[in-house]
């Protein structure tokens, strides 16, 4: 039985923190990409798209992330694909993130006055041009604070990937706790790590919000 110094604990958590950050980024980039596609699909008002996107959002918002991760982990295996915790966690978190971001961003697009759609439409712009030049640039500005705020939820959500064996902060914390028999100390460190990751982002979201209110 080896002795763990504070430094050992910190060092191991720090290394594991990289994977928390990496997984958060994967979830956010993947979820953002799919979320944007879903949003555009929904706004296009093509037959069936609205029902599809609404169903997608309801489904993945209505399933606990933990269960989603289990389903991704065991579900991908069912198709005969040898899945790793990386892939399963990436897929599960992307589904989760995309469902929420689509909804958040839809709210931002709805906040753009109808007159902006009508004016651009009466200038003969097509749907794609309206989105690209008129609607999305304005929606983007409103979307930044809630999107950054949601990033915090995603970072904390990655902790659940520990249950499918993904070696991120929480999982490594648990492993160390088992070795040191001092779970309270170790998980306190883990908590501090999450806090240090999330708090600056929350602060940033707040300051963005304040800046926007001044702009208006």
């Amino acid at each position: 039985m080896t002795e763990f110094s504070y430094w050992d604990i910190l060092r191991n958590l720090l290394l594991a923190g990289r994977w928390t950050v990496a997984l958060s980024l994967i979830a956010f980039v993947g979820g953002g990409f799919i979320g944007l596609i879903l949003l555009i699909l929904r706004m296009s008002k093509k037959p069936g798209t609205e029902t599809f996107v609404m169903g997608y959002v309801q489904l993945f918002q209505g399933i606990p992330l933990l269960v989603l991760l289990f389903l991704a982990y065991y579900g991908i295996g069912l198709f005969g694909i040898d899945t790793s915790p990386w892939v399963a966690a990436g897929v599960g978190l992307t589904l989760y993130t995309s469902a929420f971001l689509t909804e958040i961003w839809r709210g931002c697009v709805l906040a753009i006055p109808r007159g902006q759609w009508e004016a651009s439409q009466s200038l003969a712009l097509n749907f794609g041009e309206q989105l690209r030049h008129i609607i999305l640039p304005q929606a983007l500005k409103i979307a930044i604070p809630p999107t950054v705020g949601f990033l915090v939820q995603v970072i904390k959500g990655t902790a659940l990937a520990s249950v499918i064996g993904f070696m991120e902060l929480t999982k490594v914390g648990k492993t160390i706790a088992n070795a040191t028999f001092n779970p309270f100390l170790v998980f306190s460190f883990v908590a501090v790590f999450y806090f240090l990751l999330c708090y600056p982002i929350s602060l940033y979201a707040k300051s963005l919000e304040r800046k926007m209110n001044v702009d208006r």
Binding site: S122, L123, A124
Partner: protein, 254 residues
């Protein structure tokens, strides 16, 4: 006033026949027939809810309609064809009550955007045109300003310049002075009047009766989704035929 010869010579720009439009079970247009010839200035008056704005919005396809026909330059309006609608909207400009300038773009970019995107004008040509149009509406120094730095009257004049940049055959004006402070109405109406004098075809929904009287060739009084009375300003304002029009005119007199 139009003489017989000019009527025959003038080209029909808009032809509306049997136009019916409902919102759910509420029928707001109950069979409209109007023909507008090139260069004509038409004022549409009537109580709120009479269908005036809806009629304008149908002409450039902002509203769908259930039956009837609208054609612009002889081409029938077809909602199902995106290409046809794109072409139609290049011929029909619209100005709104709430200006609807794009707040994230400068005044100049507001005007240049559609010509560069839709008409594939290169940006130098679009910019030259925008400068000229801003001069025309008396705002040449505002090229780099943003909408929130302008007064309502200035914003509306930019909106007019923006619509003109597409070189439309017809301009639809939907209560374009209703959201303005009284002292700013004049500057916008002067621009519209100059357009009328230059031969632009105008269809305007308006509550400015003295303006309608002064610049329009014909006045349409709408009531309950129908063209209730139509005639020259002198006929409509000087000699109203129906009790509804008489009542409407007396209600706005005081």
């Amino acid at each position: 006033m139009l003489t017989v010869e000019t009527v025959q010579a003038a080209k029909t720009v808009i032809e509306i026949s049997g136009l019916r439009k409902s919102f759910g079970t509420n029928e707001v247009l109950k069979g409209i027939d109007i023909t507008v010839t090139s260069g004509e200035v038409i004022a549409i008056i009537g109580k709120s809810g009479s269908g005036k704005s809806t009629l304008l919005r149908c002409i450039n396809g902002l509203e769908d309609f259930q039956s009837g026909q609208i054609s612009v330059d002889g081409k029938p309006l077809d909602h199902k064809s995106a290409a046809a609608m794109r072409e139609l909207r290049q011929r029909v400009g619209m100005i709104f009550q709430s200006f609807n300038l794009f707040p994230h773009l400068t005044v100049g970019k507001n005007i240049m955007l559609a010509p560069t995107l839709v008409k594939n004008k290169d940006s130098a040509a679009a910019q030259a045109a925008a400068v000229k149009l801003l001069e025309r509406v008396g705002l040449s120094e505002k090229f780099n300003a943003f909408a929130d730095q302008l007064s309502g009257g200035q914003q509306q004049r930019v909106a007019i310049a923006r619509a003109l940049a597409m070189e439309p055959a017809v301009l639809l004006c939907d209560e374009i002075t209703s959201a303005l402070d009284p002292e700013l109405v004049g500057e916008v109406l002067r621009v519209v009047e100059s357009l009328a004098n230059e031969g632009m075809t105008l269809l305007m929904v308006t509550h400015e009766m003295s303006f309608a009287r002064k610049v329009s060739d014909r006045v349409i009084f709408m009531h309950q989704g129908l063209v209730h009375e139509i005639g020259t300003p002198a006929e409509i304002f000087g000699n109203p035929q129906t009790p509804e029009l008489k009542q409407f005119l007396s209600s706005i007199a005081d």
